[in-house]
């Protein structure tokens, strides 16, 4: 890591810590942005680096959301009665109970999806190309439909997560969730940064470029694919747990296993930013979130129409994303040596 990068990272870190105090009105939005960046970055491990376009990371996100809330409630109160009464009316968490529950809940929300990813990974990741994409799409929707039929976690009427306890100042809820999600974001970034600088990333890229050849070179591709998916699942679960607390209400198909919104968003953000790059998903998520929050209000009621059009336009006209565009424009900055003669020859050929 050179000096400039270090300064950049420290600058971003300071900005991240100061952000809720600079923009006090946008705390919730900033926390959602952190969660979105986490989702896009972890999707990029599959979709960008490994070439496995997954629609199913939403499974771990929703699983984490339900698990975190269930543990948080179930540690202190009977879960069935809580969901039946619609939550906060009968039982109230004390601050100590809330934070303990949140901590244990987040650990469970991170660990269980990781185990699930490891268990189903062997069967699912053996699928190639579009079969993998459709299979994971099916997994996400199936999870939503099935969890919508389970009584103990609220079935169709939803699950109210424990409300934030009264700890004095009014701003503390926003700050708590912001710093929690920012912490997870930093953790994700460090993990991804570290694994992208090791052999692991090269193996993932080899799988993307030609899996059979990678196997023939003696790489146990399945092992690496599963580990990659488990890393994604870990952070998706954490992000889901935080998002559950932040939204305050979990519905099986509209919040948790929301393939139509969050499940597509993570793919779209990664593609918009440029898949297969470290910064792409982060830039993509930021641009997308600003666009979404800025313009959604103009399209009120029409936001899904706008989303559909946006998907088609990005996918067709902008598949390389922002980073890909920058790379084409300023190849020197990405450490690529451009031979002027060679480029001219190519232009003439065209």
């Amino acid at each position: 890591m050179n000096r400039n990068n270090l300064i950049l990272y420290i600058g971003i870190l300071i900005f991240g810590i100061a952000a809720p105090f600079i923009f006090p009105a946008f705390k919730v939005q900033l926390s959602i942005l952190c969660v979105l960046i986490v989702l896009a970055t972890t999707w990029n491990i599959q979709g960008g680096e490994m070439g496995y376009n997954s629609f199913g990371n939403i499974l771990f996100y929703g699983l984490g959301m339900y698990l975190c809330a269930s543990v948080q409630v179930g540690m202190f109160f009977p879960l069935a009665e809580w969901t039946e009464s619609g939550g906060e009316k009968t039982f109230v968490h004390t601050p100590a109970q809330f934070f303990q529950g949140m901590a244990v809940g987040l650990i469970v929300a991170a660990v269980v999806p990781t185990i699930v990813a490891g268990l189903i990974g062997y069967s699912i990741l053996g699928l190639r190309g579009h079969y993998f994409a459709i299979c994971t799409l099916g997994l996400g929707v199936a999870a939503g439909e099935i969890s919508g039929g389970i009584e103990i976690i609220g079935a169709g009427q939803g699950f109210t997560t424990p409300p934030f306890p009264d700890v004095g100042s009014l701003d503390s809820r926003g700050e708590f969730f912001y710093f929690l999600s920012f912490f997870v974001l930093v953790l994700t970034f460090i993990t991804v940064r570290v694994i992208y600088s090791t052999r692991f990333k090269l193996i993932l890229n080899a799988i993307r470029d030609n899996e059979d050849k990678a196997e023939a070179m003696g790489i146990e591709t399945m092992k690496y694919k599963i580990v990659g998916w488990m890393i994604s699942a870990f952070f998706c679960g954490l992000a889901g747990g935080i998002m559950g607390g932040l939204v305050g209400y979990i519905d099986s198909t509209d919040v948790a296993f929301d393939g139509r919104e969050m499940g597509v968003f993570m793919v779209l953000m990664a593609i918009l930013g440029g898949k297969g790059t470290l910064w792409g998903p982060i830039i993509g998520a930021t641009v997308f979130h600003i666009f979404k929050e800025g313009f959604w209000t103009f399209f009120l009621g029409w936001q899904y129409v706008a989303l559909g059009v946006l998907i088609v336009v990005i996918v067709i006209y902008f598949p390389e994303g922002i980073m890909g565009w920058l790379r084409e424009k300023y190849p020197e900055r990405f450490g690529e040596v451009v031979d002027e003669k060679d480029r001219k020859a190519q232009v003439e050929l065209k």
Binding site: G138, V141, A142, R260, V267, G301, G308, V312
Partner: protein, 297 residues
């Protein structure tokens, strides 16, 4: 869990017959999917939404006092042009690209259609009532609505017409040639661009027929599209491309599976079980293929 199906054999018979009649409809949609997949190498996630749109056309005719069965004639004609429009606007830009691009682009179209239908027609579950009455079988232990029999009959009729058209007509031959080898077909003077447009149009028209029949026999709702896409995808991967008897058989099998899942697990898990079955089939297929690969080694 409810195992009444196995205690009363008549319920099983009912479920089987319902499933078969439903499955024929699924097979019709799946045939359209196999067609475009084989010819253009495109997986169309918006397939189910085209079906629902076709259903709404029949429903609107019903609202204006025309018998909804006429939807079977009108809906494919309108849907054919809708299909061509979608092809010209979006699909022709993704035809020779990566398959994932087509999946994502059609996913976008699916979301767009879903929401536009929600605005145009409202979020209610609707049904075009055909007043066809019912048929009683086995001492009135098994009740079959005539509309289901009608829809199965019409589906078979359309499928047969399409097969004959593909075999005999000039365009049908061009489509089959393009499916075999697009490049060679182009060299031999087939306008592949036109063939692609026609294929997508025919697929949309098939969806229109199926949708009109679904609006008569079952119910339609703007958000119900995706399950139809998944069902047709499933049928196609079980049967394989270009295997029409296989498509019909696996369509009926899926229909029977769904009816039994409905009885045993309960209606709330019906859609979930369809998606779960998709995952199971894909995983089964993966292990079967991997065994073959090891064998080759």
């Amino acid at each position: 869990m409810d195992f009444m199906v196995f205690q009363y054999p008549m319920i099983s018979v009912q479920a089987c017959l319902d499933g078969i009649l439903l499955g024929i409809l699924f097979a019709l949609i799946a045939y359209g999917m196999a067609l475009q997949w084989g010819v253009m190498n495109i997986i169309n996630i918006a397939q189910g939404d085209l079906v629902i749109l076709g259903g709404y056309i029949a429903y609107f005719m019903y609202l204006y006092g025309i018998h909804p069965a006429w939807g079977v004639v009108v809906s494919p004609i309108i849907m054919f042009f809708v299909g061509i429009a979608i092809y010209k606007l979006v699909i022709n830009k993704v035809v020779d690209r990566d398959l994932f691009i087509s999946i994502l682009a059609t996913f976008g179209i699916s979301i767009l259609f879903m929401q536009l239908m929600n605005f145009a027609f409202g979020a209610d579950v609707v049904l075009a009532n055909s007043d066809y009455g019912t048929t009683m079988l086995f001492n009135s232990n098994v009740v079959l609505p005539n509309s289901k029999i009608f829809s199965a009959f019409i589906s078979i009729l359309f499928a047969i017409c399409l097969v004959i058209y593909m075999k005999k007509s000039k365009l049908g031959r061009a489509i089959r040639a393009t499916a075999q080898n697009a490049r060679a077909a182009k060299i031999l003077g087939v306008d592949t661009e036109k063939v692609y447009a026609a294929t997508f149009g025919i697929n949309a028209a098939l969806c229109g027929v199926a949708g009109a029949l679904i609006s008569i026999t079952f119910t339609i709702h703007p958000y119900m599209g995706l399950p139809y896409t998944i069902r047709s995808f499933m049928i196609v991967i079980v049967a394989g491309l270009g295997n029409l008897p296989g498509v019909a058989m696996s369509g009926m099998g899926l229909g029977v599976f769904e009816e039994f899942a409905d009885y045993i697990l309960g209606t709330e898990f019906r859609i979930g079980s369809v998606f779960l079955l998709l995952v199971l089939i894909l995983v089964y297929r993966r292990f079967k293929l991997s065994r073959k690969r090891e064998y080759l080694k």
